[in-house]
Subunit: 351 residues, 4 copies
């Protein structure tokens, strides 16, 4: 079999571990040739496809390396017009690929589904998201690394917060789902955790900070970038996207600072973690999880279970149809165990 692999969308710690596991599993299985497609779908959209042969040596030593050796693209859309799609089809035919293992988020799964239907190429999916928000997948690789990075940042900022008696706001990723802010906040001992799923009442947040001003004298706030104040029609991010000067904005954490500062005696400061959360080497947990996803994807390939995406459900690796996850998101329910737990140990959820 000739198998292509591509990584699409934003990079994520553990991509190389998946590439390695897919490749090694297929080579050990035998009768497989593996090709890496460069820069996501972009590598299939150009007049000549850009690919590299993946053999045992090429994928050795990359288990713990962040990023993707194949490159990726956020913007490449193979479905953008008929000519592009036709080019993709010609390239797939020229490469003589039986199946493409697509590693990406819900957007990439959606594109893969479309390409498969239009060109007849077979696909197998591996979910990739820093935000841990892909449907039917309770934990995706890269998430533990992002939680670790954000939790360590929270701890690091606690030194300054407690020394200067300040309120420190840390903005994490998470436009639509608050998993990262929630777990990082719990792991980093945040006093306030604000999620996109639970609109915050600025007075409730301020009251919590003021209560702490009396005793602990500092407060750590962990805020997902999609969080918004109650009653606000748009998230801050959406407001900014429509403003004339979005580039000047450092991040929504700065907006919370503007809201909060007038209500408090302590100084309020903001740190936006941004790309630090995506980069870096995967944690050992993510290396194992990414290897499991990659290994399972290789099994889907050799068992010809096309159109399936590897998942983790109830602690077990399995698979679901790719179509089921395209453009669906897993968000934090208000009654989720972790939310209840956060409240029970005294964390303010902003409501």
């Amino acid at each position: 079999m000739r198998v292509g692999i591509l990584t699409g969308g934003g990079d994520c710690p553990g991509l190389n571990a998946v590439i390695r596991a897919v490749t090694k599993s297929l080579i050990r299985h035998g009768q497989c040739e593996v090709l890496g497609i460069e820069d996501g779908f972009q590598g299939l959209m150009e007049p000549l496809p850009r690919v590299q042969a993946l053999d045992w040596q090429r994928v050795s030593g990359i288990l713990h390396v962040g990023g993707t050796i194949l490159g990726t693209s956020n913007s490449a859309n193979p479905l953008r017009d008929a000519a592009t799609l036709a080019q993709v089809g010609r390239n797939l035919a020229a490469l003589n690929l039986d199946v493409v293992v697509v590693i990406g988020g819900d957007g990439t799964m959606s594109l893969a589904h479309g390409v498969a239907q239009a060109t007849g190429v077979h696909c197998v999916g591996v979910p990739k998201t820093i935000d841990n928000d892909i449907a039917h997948c309770e934990r995706s690789f890269g998430f533990d690394t992002a939680v670790t990075t954000a939790a360590e940042a929270l701890r690091r900022l606690e030194s300054t917060a407690s020394s200067h008696h300040r309120v420190m706001i840390v903005e994490t990723m998470g436009r639509h789902a608050g998993w990262l802010a929630l777990e990082a906040g719990l792991a980093g001992a945040a006093d306030v955790i604000l999620l996109p799923e639970i609109d915050y009442d600025i007075e409730a947040v301020a009251a919590h900070c003021r209560a702490r001003e009396q005793r602990q004298r500092y407060t750590i706030i962990c805020m997902g970038e999609g969080a918004k104040a109650r009653g606000a029609a748009l998230t801050v991010r959406e407001q900014v996207a429509g403003s004339p000067d979005p580039v000047r904005l450092g991040g929504v954490g700065h907006v919370l600072r503007m809201q909060l500062q007038p209500l408090l005696a302590s100084e309020v400061r903001t740190t936006v973690l941004g790309h630090l959360q995506r980069g870096g080497d995967p944690t050992p947990f993510d290396r194992v999880l990414a290897t499991r996803f990659g290994h399972h994807a290789a099994q889907l390939v050799v068992q010809r279970r096309f159109g399936q995406m590897a998942t983790l459900q109830h602690g077990r690796i399995g698979s679901v149809p790719m179509a089921e996850v395209a453009n669906v998101q897993r968000t934090v329910a208000r009654g989720h165990e972790l939310v209840t737990m956060a409240r029970d140990i005294g964390v303010c959820l902003g409501d």
Copy 2:
């Protein structure tokens, strides 16, 4: 309610996170007073019980701190004789405790069960094991930290192995269960993983190393301390325990070195991780998991579901009767997904 907490057996990263979550949850619930019992059951076996009050401030700032603020004991046995048990009973009565939250391994659970039956005190359990081998619990806190420590050691030793073209053996904990060696080996890209559950054939291990001598020129072996050569009646550890000079032995990894060196051209070296795996600050993953266990134990207390131990099964927190886990171990099945995966990506399991 008056609630005692004790930590028994070997220390483990995340104990303080459990203590914090139990205490904060009970205080927030209201009408609870929390007492920390010092040095495990030892604190109940002396003429005067050794305890400390646990309030909100005492358990703040300990989430990420390794070890246990209460102290622990490996050897204290409240059931060792009638006088000791009677003393424990008097102390429990004097402290007027309604329930004791016992954080420990299968041995500690067994002791707690015995004490509960003899004295009538209620108990609630929280599983603790670096080895991840407690029955009915698919992942215990502290394990991720130990895997991380061991996997980083494997990576670190790879520098030297590849520069000097050596075979490096790393001995991890795990007398009866190979989970730690298995996950650390997978996360640290070990070439050979030897588990207590799969006796190794020294010739098979040597053959794998020799094949690598030709191409990669170095080999990393990750070995659980309970691993033994096929046909050996006793594990190396057991042999050593019966030998006249056990103290001189640095660890069973040194024995594998003696077996392997004559069969290879490369130099073979051993590193025994030992206590490094138990110590240190818990990873963010373990901080969250330990908090979940502690929070659930507090719920078991307030719901008066005594005799239950918190568990993680199928990705969810729940509980099982403590009696079911006492002296039962969860070991690695030969057909476990991770074992199959390891073989499929080219790892030698020694058989």
Copy 3:
């Protein structure tokens, strides 16, 4: 002798190590009582002084902890008016302090000098600066930690830069001195390093990025917050300070992005490290260096060498008069060994 200790200005990793070393050295020397003054000079400016006794146990276990157990203040100015200064004098008299060990930057040294002259209290100084820019001190504690944090951030962002073929800008601290940007850039393998001391030519920076677009396909830029474009009358920071909406600005790295994006084909992204650089636990190097400074300050106290500040010069601990360092800064000379070296290994300095 009765000795006070205070920490002033921004917090810095290693402050607790200094406090510990001063205290332990004085206690071991004998006949010394040590008092910690809270929140810098603020603790002396209030109607009742805020202090805490420092004994052996209080300073045990803090060697590796970030921040300062005494608290600090950026804004407290004991010289702001006659009444304040008189209050400080009364408090010093009431506390019956023979000498105050002042741990702070050039601003704090200047205040200490003023307080000493006005009140007659003796002072001994310990230099503190994340920026490593105190005169007569070639390496201050906290700097190695900040370099480590920033260098790790550069590495982390390289994953994303290379996967997405982007230009990544990292803004470090350093308003007037570029030491942090320089060493972090060297340690983090930055391709471009921009310092406050060397105005950059945006075209030169763009040309370097474009040359890399052809081959390596990504560029990492490390930029001190005080860097400015050649010909600009004001640094970006100064411009912003005078603008009507400074709070919206995420940092000067965003301005470089705006300048650079139109000149390049690759996407340009910015990360502002901000407070992450000040916080966190000190590196082992900084723990030892801070201990040396603290130990030397204690020697200055017992030898009654008042008015001196501990320094590191030519690799040795020594001291200089505090007056010599007040309001003087050590900046990066264009011909400094590290600058020449950076150029010689192909780093673009922007000129």
Copy 4:
């Protein structure tokens, strides 16, 4: 010019940073071709020399990578007999090398000096030692990384020591010089530090532990592998080397345990860090320092200052004749600032 580079002796974090800096500096200087010699002098002793071309791309991305991309050898001795030396001479002639940059310890410098005299090849040296014991060099790259590894191990073991009220012994590298044990002990808050340079009195060590048993209830001992008890004719290491069964010995830390356990009530445990100290990625400090050494070596090459070795003295990079450092060691003087400081803050030095 044709320039060879080789790395000899044990591996050390930062070797790749030196290789990168030498290579990039020479390429940027122009008119230089750089060849990497494989496995130290071994690559010159075989019938055909083993070398690889080093260009810009080959040395990119290795700054932070542990080990050496060229490989090394502990045992290769080009001076072992006339035939070998003649072969080395023929290979050097065949490769047409003008100069060889030799990165190694005092033994390697000695060999290089001998080869230079016998064959007429020019050499330039870069000092390499985990132990920081090369004469005329106050800080060598790799040392900071080793200190960091050992100090973190000390902290990690403190969790267990304090939870179980134990005495924990950590054995570090350092056969003849105690720099590593000393700085790691200081950075890791060891209570006892034992150096090869100061024979310890087991009673003094035990007395310190007993005093702590009363109050802190645990003790951390950091011990260099060359430390020996007062009055012992041989170090433990030397005794073991002459014993029939050295391979069974886990390390000299185990011997101290045997000496100490009978004198104490607390349990005593030992951890031998071994190869963990050599491996792993260099710290940012070591990346910069190694780059400085490499850059300076390249300058020595282009300035034809042959026979010189790069050094760091009084905080500055410079050079000394290689002959001066061959077989000379820098050890810890009893009156060294750090020793005095250790005593002054209450550390027991064993005497």
